[in-house]
Symmetry: C2
Subunit: 253 residues, 2 copies
Amino acid sequence: MSDVARLRQPRSDRARQVSDVLRRQIHGGAYESTLPSEQDLAHEFGASRNTVRAALSLLKGEGLIDRAPKVGTHVVGRKYEHGLDALLGLKETLRGYGEVRNEVRAASVITAPPAVAHRLQLDPGGPVVYVERLRYLGDLPLSLDQTYLEPEIGTELLEHDLECNDVFALIEEICDRPLGGADLALEALAADAHSAALLQTSEHAALLLLERLTALDDGRPVDLEYIRMRGDRITMRGSLARRPEPTGWEITT
Amino acid sequence: MSDVARLRQPRSDRARQVSDVLRRQIHGGAYESTLPSEQDLAHEFGASRNTVRAALSLLKGEGLIDRAPKVGTHVVGRKYEHGLDALLGLKETLRGYGEVRNEVRAASVITAPPAVAHRLQLDPGGPVVYVERLRYLGDLPLSLDQTYLEPEIGTELLEHDLECNDVFALIEEICDRPLGGADLALEALAADAHSAALLQTSEHAALLLLERLTALDDGRPVDLEYIRMRGDRITMRGSLARRPEPTGWEITT
Protein backbone atom coordinates (compact mmCIF):
# COMPACT_ATOMS: atom_id res chain seq x y z
CA MET A 1 0.00 0.00 0.00
CA SER A 2 1.35 3.41 -0.87
CA ASP A 3 0.36 6.73 0.66
CA VAL A 4 -0.50 9.93 -1.18
CA ALA A 5 3.15 10.96 -1.35
CA ARG A 6 4.08 7.65 -2.94
CA LEU A 7 1.58 7.94 -5.79
CA ARG A 8 4.46 9.47 -7.79
CA GLN A 9 2.26 12.22 -9.00
CA PRO A 10 3.80 15.66 -9.48
CA ARG A 11 3.71 17.79 -6.35
CA SER A 12 1.09 20.10 -7.89
CA ASP A 13 -1.30 17.12 -8.15
CA ARG A 14 -0.68 16.08 -4.57
CA ALA A 15 -1.03 19.67 -3.37
CA ARG A 16 -4.42 19.90 -5.10
CA GLN A 17 -5.54 16.66 -3.47
CA VAL A 18 -4.55 17.84 0.00
CA SER A 19 -6.03 21.31 -0.55
CA ASP A 20 -9.42 19.91 -1.60
CA VAL A 21 -9.82 17.80 1.52
CA LEU A 22 -8.49 20.62 3.72
CA ARG A 23 -10.83 23.18 2.15
CA ARG A 24 -13.89 21.13 3.01
CA GLN A 25 -12.51 20.47 6.50
CA ILE A 26 -12.12 24.22 7.03
CA HIS A 27 -15.60 25.03 5.67
CA GLY A 28 -17.06 22.23 7.77
CA GLY A 29 -15.61 23.84 10.90
CA ALA A 30 -13.12 21.06 11.64
CA TYR A 31 -10.62 23.65 12.86
CA GLU A 32 -11.48 26.52 15.18
CA SER A 33 -9.40 29.35 13.79
CA THR A 34 -5.90 27.85 13.67
CA LEU A 35 -4.84 24.98 11.41
CA PRO A 36 -2.52 22.21 12.58
CA SER A 37 1.20 22.71 11.90
CA GLU A 38 2.71 21.82 8.52
CA GLN A 39 4.32 18.82 10.18
CA ASP A 40 1.04 17.54 11.64
CA LEU A 41 -0.76 18.05 8.32
CA ALA A 42 2.06 16.25 6.51
CA HIS A 43 1.61 13.32 8.85
CA GLU A 44 -2.19 13.42 8.54
CA PHE A 45 -2.10 13.35 4.74
CA GLY A 46 0.91 11.06 4.39
CA ALA A 47 2.45 13.83 2.31
CA SER A 48 5.73 15.75 2.38
CA ARG A 49 5.97 19.13 4.07
CA ASN A 50 6.64 20.69 0.67
CA THR A 51 3.35 19.28 -0.60
CA VAL A 52 1.49 20.59 2.45
CA ARG A 53 3.11 24.00 1.98
CA ALA A 54 2.00 24.04 -1.67
CA ALA A 55 -1.55 23.03 -0.63
CA LEU A 56 -1.69 25.81 1.96
CA SER A 57 -0.41 28.23 -0.65
CA LEU A 58 -3.37 27.33 -2.90
CA LEU A 59 -5.82 27.96 -0.05
CA LYS A 60 -4.09 31.24 0.78
CA GLY A 61 -4.48 32.30 -2.85
CA GLU A 62 -8.21 31.68 -2.50
CA GLY A 63 -8.36 34.03 0.48
CA LEU A 64 -9.43 31.19 2.76
CA ILE A 65 -6.45 31.22 5.12
CA ASP A 66 -3.64 33.53 6.13
CA ARG A 67 -0.16 32.48 7.17
CA ALA A 68 2.51 34.20 9.21
CA PRO A 69 5.81 32.99 10.65
CA LYS A 70 5.49 31.91 14.30
CA VAL A 71 1.77 32.73 14.35
CA GLY A 72 0.82 29.80 12.09
CA THR A 73 -2.05 29.32 9.70
CA HIS A 74 -5.37 31.01 10.42
CA VAL A 75 -8.79 30.66 8.86
CA VAL A 76 -9.87 34.09 7.57
CA GLY A 77 -12.83 33.37 5.33
CA ARG A 78 -16.09 31.99 6.64
CA LYS A 79 -18.53 30.38 4.19
CA TYR A 80 -22.31 30.25 4.33
CA GLU A 81 -24.44 27.47 2.97
CA HIS A 82 -27.28 27.98 0.55
CA GLY A 83 -29.61 25.02 0.18
CA LEU A 84 -30.21 23.06 -3.00
CA ASP A 85 -32.93 20.96 -1.32
CA ALA A 86 -35.65 23.55 -0.74
CA LEU A 87 -36.48 26.90 -2.30
CA LEU A 88 -35.50 29.54 0.24
CA GLY A 89 -34.77 33.23 0.15
CA LEU A 90 -31.40 34.46 1.43
CA LYS A 91 -32.87 35.85 4.64
CA GLU A 92 -34.64 32.56 5.39
CA THR A 93 -31.42 30.67 4.54
CA LEU A 94 -29.15 32.74 6.76
CA ARG A 95 -31.50 32.96 9.71
CA GLY A 96 -29.26 32.25 12.66
CA TYR A 97 -26.13 33.74 11.08
CA GLY A 98 -27.17 37.38 11.35
CA GLU A 99 -29.21 40.12 9.74
CA VAL A 100 -29.61 40.18 5.96
CA ARG A 101 -30.12 43.68 4.59
CA ASN A 102 -30.59 44.71 1.00
CA GLU A 103 -29.24 47.81 -0.69
CA VAL A 104 -31.89 48.50 -3.33
CA ARG A 105 -30.01 49.72 -6.42
CA ALA A 106 -32.99 49.83 -8.78
CA ALA A 107 -36.72 49.24 -8.44
CA SER A 108 -39.08 50.24 -11.24
CA VAL A 109 -41.36 49.19 -14.07
CA ILE A 110 -39.49 48.63 -17.35
CA THR A 111 -40.28 47.18 -20.78
CA ALA A 112 -39.72 43.43 -20.67
CA PRO A 113 -36.94 42.30 -23.02
CA PRO A 114 -38.46 39.53 -25.20
CA ALA A 115 -36.36 36.78 -23.58
CA VAL A 116 -37.51 37.84 -20.13
CA ALA A 117 -41.13 38.15 -21.26
CA HIS A 118 -40.94 34.67 -22.72
CA ARG A 119 -39.65 33.12 -19.50
CA LEU A 120 -42.32 34.86 -17.42
CA GLN A 121 -45.01 34.13 -20.03
CA LEU A 122 -45.74 37.83 -20.50
CA ASP A 123 -46.57 39.72 -23.67
CA PRO A 124 -43.36 40.86 -25.38
CA GLY A 125 -43.03 44.62 -25.17
CA GLY A 126 -45.27 44.76 -22.11
CA PRO A 127 -44.24 45.88 -18.64
CA VAL A 128 -42.15 43.95 -16.12
CA VAL A 129 -40.90 45.06 -12.72
CA TYR A 130 -37.14 45.17 -12.30
CA VAL A 131 -35.46 45.16 -8.88
CA GLU A 132 -31.72 45.12 -8.27
CA ARG A 133 -30.37 44.50 -4.81
CA LEU A 134 -26.95 44.14 -3.28
CA ARG A 135 -27.43 41.77 -0.37
CA TYR A 136 -25.39 41.93 2.80
CA LEU A 137 -25.01 39.70 5.80
CA GLY A 138 -24.10 42.36 8.35
CA ASP A 139 -21.40 44.35 6.54
CA LEU A 140 -20.39 41.54 4.18
CA PRO A 141 -21.77 41.72 0.62
CA LEU A 142 -22.80 38.18 -0.34
CA SER A 143 -24.76 38.54 -3.54
CA LEU A 144 -25.96 40.88 -6.28
CA ASP A 145 -29.52 40.01 -7.33
CA GLN A 146 -31.29 41.15 -10.49
CA THR A 147 -35.00 40.33 -10.32
CA TYR A 148 -37.71 40.52 -13.00
CA LEU A 149 -41.24 40.22 -11.62
CA GLU A 150 -44.66 39.62 -13.13
CA PRO A 151 -45.97 43.22 -13.40
CA GLU A 152 -49.11 43.01 -11.26
CA ILE A 153 -47.36 41.32 -8.35
CA GLY A 154 -44.22 43.37 -8.95
CA THR A 155 -46.03 46.72 -8.88
CA GLU A 156 -47.55 45.88 -5.52
CA LEU A 157 -44.20 44.58 -4.29
CA LEU A 158 -42.62 47.98 -5.02
CA GLU A 159 -44.81 49.43 -2.24
CA HIS A 160 -43.22 47.15 0.34
CA ASP A 161 -40.00 47.35 2.32
CA LEU A 162 -37.44 45.78 -0.02
CA GLU A 163 -34.49 46.48 2.25
CA CYS A 164 -35.42 44.04 4.98
CA ASN A 165 -37.52 41.38 3.25
CA ASP A 166 -36.93 38.45 0.90
CA VAL A 167 -38.80 38.86 -2.41
CA PHE A 168 -40.17 35.31 -1.90
CA ALA A 169 -41.88 36.25 1.38
CA LEU A 170 -43.35 39.40 -0.20
CA ILE A 171 -44.71 37.49 -3.22
CA GLU A 172 -46.40 34.95 -0.94
CA GLU A 173 -47.87 37.76 1.17
CA ILE A 174 -49.13 39.70 -1.87
CA CYS A 175 -50.58 36.64 -3.63
CA ASP A 176 -51.78 35.02 -0.42
CA ARG A 177 -50.60 31.66 -1.70
CA PRO A 178 -47.31 29.79 -1.46
CA LEU A 179 -44.63 29.54 -4.11
CA GLY A 180 -44.44 26.11 -5.72
CA GLY A 181 -40.82 25.89 -6.73
CA ALA A 182 -38.16 27.02 -9.18
CA ASP A 183 -36.03 25.96 -12.12
CA LEU A 184 -32.34 26.64 -11.61
CA ALA A 185 -29.27 27.01 -13.78
CA LEU A 186 -26.04 27.38 -11.83
CA GLU A 187 -22.72 28.43 -13.35
CA ALA A 188 -19.27 29.57 -12.27
CA LEU A 189 -18.21 32.91 -13.70
CA ALA A 190 -15.23 35.22 -13.23
CA ALA A 191 -16.29 38.58 -11.77
CA ASP A 192 -16.19 41.54 -14.15
CA ALA A 193 -14.56 44.65 -12.69
CA HIS A 194 -17.83 46.38 -11.84
CA SER A 195 -19.53 43.41 -10.16
CA ALA A 196 -16.30 42.70 -8.27
CA ALA A 197 -16.25 46.25 -6.91
CA LEU A 198 -19.88 46.03 -5.78
CA LEU A 199 -19.30 42.66 -4.10
CA GLN A 200 -16.03 43.94 -2.56
CA THR A 201 -14.05 41.11 -4.08
CA SER A 202 -11.25 41.07 -6.65
CA GLU A 203 -11.71 41.26 -10.41
CA HIS A 204 -11.73 37.74 -11.88
CA ALA A 205 -12.75 36.28 -8.49
CA ALA A 206 -14.92 33.22 -9.08
CA LEU A 207 -18.64 33.85 -8.63
CA LEU A 208 -21.61 31.51 -8.63
CA LEU A 209 -24.20 32.77 -11.11
CA LEU A 210 -27.68 31.42 -10.50
CA GLU A 211 -30.56 31.89 -12.90
CA ARG A 212 -33.74 31.02 -11.04
CA LEU A 213 -37.27 31.05 -12.45
CA THR A 214 -39.76 30.79 -9.61
CA ALA A 215 -43.44 29.91 -9.89
CA LEU A 216 -46.48 30.00 -7.64
CA ASP A 217 -47.93 26.69 -6.46
CA ASP A 218 -50.25 26.72 -9.49
CA GLY A 219 -47.18 26.60 -11.75
CA ARG A 220 -47.42 30.21 -12.95
CA PRO A 221 -43.91 31.75 -13.25
CA VAL A 222 -43.71 35.11 -11.47
CA ASP A 223 -40.08 35.79 -10.64
CA LEU A 224 -36.95 35.52 -12.83
CA GLU A 225 -33.66 36.20 -11.06
CA TYR A 226 -30.00 36.43 -12.00
CA ILE A 227 -28.00 36.13 -8.79
CA ARG A 228 -24.23 36.61 -8.50
CA MET A 229 -22.88 35.07 -5.31
CA ARG A 230 -19.34 35.44 -4.00
CA GLY A 231 -17.67 32.09 -4.55
CA ASP A 232 -15.50 32.57 -1.47
CA ARG A 233 -18.53 33.09 0.76
CA ILE A 234 -21.31 30.81 -0.47
CA THR A 235 -21.46 27.04 -0.85
CA MET A 236 -24.54 25.47 -2.44
CA ARG A 237 -25.40 22.32 -0.53
CA GLY A 238 -27.93 19.61 -1.22
CA SER A 239 -28.56 15.96 -1.82
CA LEU A 240 -29.51 13.94 -4.86
CA ALA A 241 -31.25 10.61 -5.22
CA ARG A 242 -30.15 8.15 -7.89
CA ARG A 243 -33.80 7.56 -8.77
CA PRO A 244 -35.64 10.65 -7.61
CA GLU A 245 -39.37 10.77 -6.93
CA PRO A 246 -41.17 13.41 -8.98
CA THR A 247 -41.45 16.64 -6.99
CA GLY A 248 -45.13 16.91 -7.83
CA TRP A 249 -44.43 20.42 -8.95
CA GLU A 250 -43.78 21.94 -12.39
CA ILE A 251 -43.71 25.33 -14.10
CA THR A 252 -46.67 25.54 -16.48
CA THR A 253 -45.68 26.00 -20.09
CA MET B 1 -43.09 53.18 -18.01
CA SER B 2 -39.35 53.40 -18.49
CA ASP B 3 -37.17 50.93 -20.33
CA VAL B 4 -33.88 49.47 -19.19
CA ALA B 5 -31.95 52.38 -20.64
CA ARG B 6 -34.04 54.87 -18.71
CA LEU B 7 -33.41 53.26 -15.30
CA ARG B 8 -30.59 55.82 -14.94
CA GLN B 9 -28.27 53.15 -13.76
CA PRO B 10 -24.61 53.40 -14.74
CA ARG B 11 -23.85 51.73 -18.07
CA SER B 12 -21.91 48.95 -16.33
CA ASP B 13 -25.09 47.94 -14.47
CA ARG B 14 -27.16 47.95 -17.64
CA ALA B 15 -24.46 46.03 -19.52
CA ARG B 16 -24.50 43.36 -16.80
CA GLN B 17 -28.30 43.12 -17.02
CA VAL B 18 -28.24 42.68 -20.77
CA SER B 19 -25.32 40.24 -20.64
CA ASP B 20 -27.06 37.98 -18.11
CA VAL B 21 -30.17 37.57 -20.23
CA LEU B 22 -28.10 37.18 -23.40
CA ARG B 23 -25.84 34.57 -21.80
CA ARG B 24 -28.79 32.34 -20.91
CA GLN B 25 -30.27 32.89 -24.38
CA ILE B 26 -27.01 31.76 -25.95
CA HIS B 27 -26.69 28.72 -23.68
CA GLY B 28 -30.32 27.89 -24.31
CA GLY B 29 -29.65 27.76 -28.04
CA ALA B 30 -31.76 30.82 -28.92
CA TYR B 31 -29.24 31.80 -31.59
CA GLU B 32 -27.71 29.39 -34.08
CA SER B 33 -24.14 30.61 -34.33
CA THR B 34 -24.53 34.31 -35.10
CA LEU B 35 -26.02 36.86 -32.73
CA PRO B 36 -28.33 39.64 -33.92
CA SER B 37 -26.69 42.97 -34.79
CA GLU B 38 -25.88 45.52 -32.08
CA GLN B 39 -28.74 47.61 -33.38
CA ASP B 40 -31.26 44.77 -33.17
CA LEU B 41 -30.08 43.82 -29.68
CA ALA B 42 -30.31 47.47 -28.60
CA HIS B 43 -33.90 47.53 -29.81
CA GLU B 44 -34.67 44.17 -28.16
CA PHE B 45 -33.34 45.27 -24.77
CA GLY B 46 -34.49 48.89 -24.95
CA ALA B 47 -30.85 49.78 -24.38
CA SER B 48 -28.32 52.02 -26.11
CA ARG B 49 -25.83 50.56 -28.59
CA ASN B 50 -23.04 51.49 -26.18
CA THR B 51 -24.70 49.39 -23.49
CA VAL B 52 -25.09 46.46 -25.88
CA ARG B 53 -21.47 46.81 -26.92
CA ALA B 54 -20.39 46.73 -23.26
CA ALA B 55 -22.58 43.65 -22.65
CA LEU B 56 -21.07 41.83 -25.62
CA SER B 57 -17.62 42.78 -24.39
CA LEU B 58 -18.38 41.05 -21.06
CA LEU B 59 -19.48 37.89 -22.88
CA LYS B 60 -16.40 38.03 -25.10
CA GLY B 61 -14.25 38.27 -21.97
CA GLU B 62 -15.88 35.05 -20.76
CA GLY B 63 -14.89 33.30 -23.99
CA LEU B 64 -18.53 32.77 -24.90
CA ILE B 65 -18.59 34.81 -28.10
CA ASP B 66 -16.16 36.23 -30.62
CA ARG B 67 -16.58 39.47 -32.53
CA ALA B 68 -15.07 40.70 -35.77
CA PRO B 69 -15.83 43.72 -37.96
CA LYS B 70 -18.17 42.87 -40.85
CA VAL B 71 -18.42 39.24 -39.71
CA GLY B 72 -20.48 40.07 -36.63
CA THR B 73 -20.81 38.26 -33.32
CA HIS B 74 -20.41 34.49 -33.17
CA VAL B 75 -21.03 31.94 -30.46
CA VAL B 76 -17.78 30.08 -29.79
CA GLY B 77 -18.40 28.28 -26.49
CA ARG B 78 -20.95 25.55 -26.16
CA LYS B 79 -22.15 24.56 -22.68
CA TYR B 80 -23.28 21.19 -21.39
CA GLU B 81 -25.82 20.64 -18.67
CA HIS B 82 -25.23 18.52 -15.63
CA GLY B 83 -28.35 17.61 -13.67
CA LEU B 84 -29.09 18.59 -10.10
CA ASP B 85 -32.27 16.50 -10.07
CA ALA B 86 -30.87 12.99 -10.27
CA LEU B 87 -27.51 11.43 -9.46
CA LEU B 88 -25.83 10.68 -12.77
CA GLY B 89 -22.30 10.03 -13.93
CA LEU B 90 -20.80 12.27 -16.60
CA LYS B 91 -21.11 9.64 -19.31
CA GLU B 92 -24.78 9.05 -18.47
CA THR B 93 -25.33 12.82 -18.38
CA LEU B 94 -23.71 13.55 -21.73
CA ARG B 95 -25.18 10.59 -23.58
CA GLY B 96 -26.31 12.12 -26.85
CA TYR B 97 -23.61 14.79 -26.96
CA GLY B 98 -20.72 12.48 -27.78
CA GLU B 99 -18.21 10.06 -26.30
CA VAL B 100 -16.87 10.65 -22.80
CA ARG B 101 -13.38 9.28 -22.31
CA ASN B 102 -11.25 9.40 -19.19
CA GLU B 103 -7.52 9.92 -18.98
CA VAL B 104 -6.62 7.98 -15.83
CA ARG B 105 -3.91 10.01 -14.06
CA ALA B 106 -3.73 7.91 -10.89
CA ALA B 107 -5.35 4.69 -9.68
CA SER B 108 -4.04 2.94 -6.58
CA VAL B 109 -4.54 2.01 -2.96
CA ILE B 110 -3.35 4.71 -0.55
CA THR B 111 -3.61 5.41 3.19
CA ALA B 112 -6.86 7.25 3.86
CA PRO B 113 -6.31 10.76 5.24
CA PRO B 114 -8.37 10.95 8.48
CA ALA B 115 -10.88 13.42 6.98
CA VAL B 116 -11.49 11.10 4.01
CA ALA B 117 -11.72 8.03 6.27
CA HIS B 118 -14.28 9.87 8.42
CA ARG B 119 -16.50 10.76 5.46
CA LEU B 120 -16.38 7.20 4.11
CA GLN B 121 -16.79 5.71 7.64
CA LEU B 122 -13.49 3.84 7.35
CA ASP B 123 -10.86 3.22 10.00
CA PRO B 124 -8.40 6.12 10.08
CA GLY B 125 -5.03 5.01 8.78
CA GLY B 126 -6.59 2.16 6.81
CA PRO B 127 -6.57 1.80 3.03
CA VAL B 128 -8.69 3.72 0.52
CA VAL B 129 -8.61 3.56 -3.27
CA TYR B 130 -7.70 6.79 -5.03
CA VAL B 131 -8.53 7.40 -8.69
CA GLU B 132 -7.81 10.62 -10.58
CA ARG B 133 -9.27 11.15 -14.01
CA LEU B 134 -9.27 13.96 -16.53
CA ARG B 135 -12.58 13.64 -18.33
CA TYR B 136 -13.07 14.60 -21.95
CA LEU B 137 -16.05 14.98 -24.19
CA GLY B 138 -14.36 14.17 -27.48
CA ASP B 139 -11.23 16.35 -27.36
CA LEU B 140 -12.62 18.87 -24.89
CA PRO B 141 -11.52 18.49 -21.25
CA LEU B 142 -14.60 19.08 -19.09
CA SER B 143 -13.62 18.02 -15.61
CA LEU B 144 -10.84 16.79 -13.35
CA ASP B 145 -12.15 14.20 -10.88
CA GLN B 146 -10.44 13.01 -7.71
CA THR B 147 -12.19 9.95 -6.31
CA TYR B 148 -11.75 8.13 -2.98
CA LEU B 149 -13.42 4.72 -2.86
CA GLU B 150 -14.31 2.26 -0.11
CA PRO B 151 -11.32 -0.13 -0.33
CA GLU B 152 -13.11 -3.44 -1.06
CA ILE B 153 -15.20 -1.99 -3.87
CA GLY B 154 -12.35 0.23 -5.00
CA THR B 155 -9.85 -2.61 -5.28
CA GLU B 156 -12.22 -4.53 -7.52
CA LEU B 157 -12.96 -1.38 -9.49
CA LEU B 158 -9.24 -1.01 -10.30
CA GLU B 159 -9.53 -4.21 -12.37
CA HIS B 160 -12.12 -2.61 -14.66
CA ASP B 161 -11.81 -0.31 -17.65
CA LEU B 162 -11.71 3.15 -16.07
CA GLU B 163 -11.14 4.93 -19.36
CA CYS B 164 -14.57 4.31 -20.81
CA ASN B 165 -16.86 3.84 -17.81
CA ASP B 166 -18.46 6.02 -15.15
CA VAL B 167 -17.37 5.04 -11.63
CA PHE B 168 -21.08 4.98 -10.68
CA ALA B 169 -21.88 2.27 -13.23
CA LEU B 170 -18.88 0.22 -12.10
CA ILE B 171 -19.83 0.46 -8.41
CA GLU B 172 -23.36 -0.73 -9.18
CA GLU B 173 -21.99 -3.60 -11.26
CA ILE B 174 -19.49 -4.65 -8.60
CA CYS B 175 -21.96 -4.40 -5.71
CA ASP B 176 -24.89 -5.71 -7.72
CA ARG B 177 -27.12 -3.10 -6.12
CA PRO B 178 -28.03 0.46 -7.04
CA LEU B 179 -26.60 3.63 -5.57
CA GLY B 180 -29.02 5.45 -3.30
CA GLY B 181 -27.93 9.04 -3.65
CA ALA B 182 -25.34 11.64 -2.72
CA ASP B 183 -24.67 14.68 -0.58
CA LEU B 184 -23.30 17.62 -2.55
CA ALA B 185 -21.39 20.80 -1.81
CA LEU B 186 -20.93 23.04 -4.83
CA GLU B 187 -18.59 26.03 -4.95
CA ALA B 188 -17.07 28.44 -7.46
CA LEU B 189 -13.29 28.54 -7.42
CA ALA B 190 -10.62 30.25 -9.53
CA ALA B 191 -8.41 27.71 -11.32
CA ASP B 192 -4.89 27.33 -10.00
CA ALA B 193 -2.20 27.29 -12.70
CA HIS B 194 -1.81 23.52 -12.73
CA SER B 195 -5.52 22.64 -12.85
CA ALA B 196 -6.00 25.30 -15.52
CA ALA B 197 -3.31 23.71 -17.68
CA LEU B 198 -4.86 20.25 -17.33
CA LEU B 199 -8.32 21.56 -18.17
CA GLN B 200 -6.90 23.63 -21.05
CA THR B 201 -8.36 26.83 -19.68
CA SER B 202 -6.73 30.00 -18.38
CA GLU B 203 -5.32 30.49 -14.90
CA HIS B 204 -7.95 32.14 -12.66
CA ALA B 205 -10.75 30.86 -14.94
CA ALA B 206 -13.85 30.18 -12.85
CA LEU B 207 -14.40 26.51 -12.05
CA LEU B 208 -17.26 24.69 -10.37
CA LEU B 209 -15.90 22.56 -7.55
CA LEU B 210 -18.23 19.77 -6.48
CA GLU B 211 -17.67 17.64 -3.40
CA ARG B 212 -19.93 14.63 -3.69
CA LEU B 213 -20.31 11.83 -1.16
CA THR B 214 -22.22 8.96 -2.75
CA ALA B 215 -23.86 6.04 -0.93
CA LEU B 216 -25.38 2.72 -1.85
CA ASP B 217 -29.14 2.31 -1.51
CA ASP B 218 -28.61 1.00 2.04
CA GLY B 219 -27.10 4.39 2.96
CA ARG B 220 -23.50 3.16 3.18
CA PRO B 221 -21.10 5.83 1.77
CA VAL B 222 -18.70 4.32 -0.78
CA ASP B 223 -17.43 7.12 -3.01
CA LEU B 224 -16.09 10.58 -2.11
CA GLU B 225 -15.28 12.83 -5.05
CA TYR B 226 -13.78 16.25 -5.60
CA ILE B 227 -14.71 17.33 -9.11
CA ARG B 228 -13.42 20.47 -10.86
CA MET B 229 -15.61 21.42 -13.81
CA ARG B 230 -14.84 24.11 -16.36
CA GLY B 231 -17.20 26.97 -15.60
CA ASP B 232 -17.32 27.94 -19.26
CA ARG B 233 -18.44 24.46 -20.31
CA ILE B 234 -20.76 23.10 -17.61
CA THR B 235 -24.04 24.43 -16.24
CA MET B 236 -25.67 22.66 -13.31
CA ARG B 237 -29.41 22.52 -13.87
CA GLY B 238 -32.23 21.42 -11.63
CA SER B 239 -35.45 22.34 -9.92
CA LEU B 240 -36.40 23.01 -6.33
CA ALA B 241 -39.70 22.75 -4.51
CA ARG B 242 -40.66 25.33 -1.90
CA ARG B 243 -41.83 22.51 0.38
CA PRO B 244 -39.95 19.44 -0.79
CA GLU B 245 -41.03 15.89 -0.04
CA PRO B 246 -38.38 13.86 1.76
CA THR B 247 -36.29 11.92 -0.77
CA GLY B 248 -36.68 8.74 1.27
CA TRP B 249 -32.96 8.37 1.09
CA GLU B 250 -30.17 9.29 3.51
CA ILE B 251 -26.50 8.55 4.15
CA THR B 252 -26.19 6.44 7.30
CA THR B 253 -24.21 8.09 10.06
